[in-house]
Symmetry: none
Subunit: 402 residues, 2 copies
């Protein structure tokens, strides 16, 4: 489908804004969902004049992670383009990934007499772990011709990116985990599953050795286990796929990272949603497509905090007029998945969406909510089709056939 | 899917009538679409008792041409069966296409000292172009063993069909355009891209040569450029696919032509919609399936004439009782795509449909419109599934599995 889209793409001066309220969809508590409970006069009014519906990020009944949820919003089938765990971890910790790189997520572990006695090094505190990781980075910056980058995570977790001098083959990261998944066993050596993975295996082996040498006197964190070896997915950029120059506006590294995977420009940004919208305004003339990510809605959903999730939705709604002032040709407001506070986590439920453009029927939904969106003209559709709708509504697609 | 359908098809005496109001779907102007604005008491009453919904001709967000729109209505996936530009042009000009044929659309051009100085021969007037084309037809009727047919189009456009003595291989029309797309360049020779295309290339080359010889003293139209070489698509007939004898009732050559591609009988017909319905009555005992095409709804949509498009819908509605008198077992009323007057052209919007049969729920829509159809029992579905619905409702499909 993306192939057909690409053959129909035409350029114009239209602006598309995609607002992702992370984890937007919810479930009723005392009869109403978070979105139904929130006072959202601006989104309600917009919903009345917009094309509305619900979308399914991966497949019916499937709960998406953030990676698949966003890839799907960007028009990439998340079943076809699977992002490795190492890549996701590295992106989440703010590392940049290129086609020359292999990323891997690591655990500090405790090893004694060649056997693992704690796969998580007693879940050492984050600040201690951070100090160790900084020490490793100081002492290990290059292994053979590969540049090595470490990034500290929570507790015993960290990530490593190996950057080689040349672009890697597709199967260069084909290595199973070195974590034997069981205490009392020896760690596994990095084992190449393809010819092209041999170099990565050798580099990883040397890193593990050097890490152990540096940390050998640590009481708990004296070893590193590696999981989720992965390379950059072979994916078309937004520019290639849709002819769109694109900007990601996100304060969390993971979402900027996901955006960079599809070639979006994703500068480091800190601050509030208001700051994000200010940045959108500032950059508005420079790009065709804007992905604006609002994290906190999901965070409170994950905490099971219905009231705070509701409040964050209200906060965004109050800021919406600032986006409307820009009068984008197409404005879509939705989430990357549902995170009902009731479930304290991501869920499989279709995600409500409103799509504002001059070319919609509108008039079918009285407010913006999961239940009202079932009445909308978009129906319930696979998330991966959203890019088609946004491109069509910005008149960026030619006719198919004569 | 068509394969499964075919294995389930059974014959009976039911009659199916598919009415295509070309470009039916619209968008609101002053709050209402064309179909919502039109006074359509007959379709409204039918919609209340019918299965209603909206269908997507090609894919979400994709604007279909007439070819894909109709193929899809006939149950052929328009992404799988793509109709060449030469074929569409020839069909539109009233030529008949067989499996022995290659069709190509042509431009009159101006050539001087071997270089093209005007790719459109100054857009010569249609009547002048017509005279030239008649002259060519008079002088060129056969090249080697191929019969050659010319058909005049608008301004500098015309079409050529080469009819060979035998059925052609699939890749026999694999030739790039001879139009270099730029003035100041020499025209390209017909270049076979496959072994089977060599014969077509040779014939095309001789036609170009003879045309130039005949027209060499013309001031402007002294050469022919060829584009969109294409053969008959390899497509099952309606009889093969569904066991249906079928009649196309259409006053525009293009739509009769599209119907003949799937093996419908499509006699030349002129006149009004009333004449088309009279012809339906006259032929009603002779076929199982009737495709009745109403062109003008689309034409006024393309012109951006909201009021006239509305009026043409009303005109059809007033005639609907004459079709109802026949009491077809299944009657579907829909369009091949949307043509909102607001957009002055085809669009990607799902097309409203009502399907009358004894085996529907009904009672879900209060009138026939884009918005009411969102409430219908058919939901929003790919157009290519419509044939299944029509066959099922005429009890022409056996049970699948035991």
């Amino acid at each position: 489908m993306q192939k057909i889209l690409r053959s129909l793409v035409q350029k114009n001066n239209s602006k598309i804004v995609l607002v992702v309220l992370d984890g937007l969809g919810g479930l009723p508590v005392n009869g109403k969902t978070e979105l139904e409970t929130a006072a959202t006069p601006n989104m309600d009014s917009l919903a009345r004049a917009s094309a509305c519906g619900l979308h399914i990020p991966v497949a019916p009944g499937i709960t998406p992670g953030s990676g698949p949820g966003h890839l799907s919003l960007f028009g990439y089938d998340p079943l076809e383009f699977q992002i490795g765990r190492g890549i996701l971890e590295a992106l989440g910790l703010g590392l940049e990934i290129r086609k020359t790189d292999v990323a891997v997520r690591c655990n500090y572990a405790t090893i004694k007499d060649g056997l693992i006695i704690d796969r998580r090094a007693g879940r050492i505190p984050t600040d201690q772990s951070r100090r160790l990781t900084e020490r490793l980075q100081k002492e290990i910056t290059k292994v053979d011709d590969a540049e090595i980058t470490f990034a500290a995570g929570m507790e015993h977790r960290f990530a490593v990116v190996m950057r080689f001098p040349e672009e890697l083959e597709k199967d260069a990261a084909q290595l199973p985990d070195t974590d034997p998944q069981q205490e009392g066993k020896a760690p596994l050596a990095p084992q190449p599953l393809s010819k092209n993975a041999e170099k990565v295996a050798a580099t990883a082996g040397k890193i593990i050795e050097q890490v152990h040498e540096i940390l050998k006197n640590e009481e708990r964190a004296n070893f590193a286990l590696m999981r989720g070896f992965s390379g950059m997915p072979d994916i078309q950029t937004f520019e290639e796929a849709y002819g769109l120059s694109s900007l990601a506006i996100a304060t969390y590294p993971m979402y900027r990272g996901l955006a960079t995977l599809v070639g979006m420009h994703a500068p480091v940004l800190e601050g509030t949603v208001e700051d994000e919208i200010a940045f959108l305004k500032e950059q508005y003339n420079k790009y065709d497509f804007f992905f604006l990510h609002v994290k906190k809605v999901d965070s409170y959903g994950e905490d099971g905090n219905f009231a705070e999730k509701t409040k964050r939705i209200e906060e965004f709604d109050a800021l919406l007029p600032k986006i409307m002032e820009l009068n984008p040709d197409v404005l879509a407001i939705t989430g990357d998945h549902s995170t009902p506070a009731l479930m304290k986590g991501h869920s499989w439920h279709p995600v409500p969406i409103l799509l504002k453009s001059p070319y919609v029927l509108g008039g079918l939904c009285s407010s913006f909510s999961e239940r009202e969106c079932t009445k909308g003209e978009l129906g319930i559709f696979p998330t991966v089709q959203l890019m088609s709708f946004m491109l069509a509504n910005s008149l960026r697609l030619k006719k198919f056939g004569a």
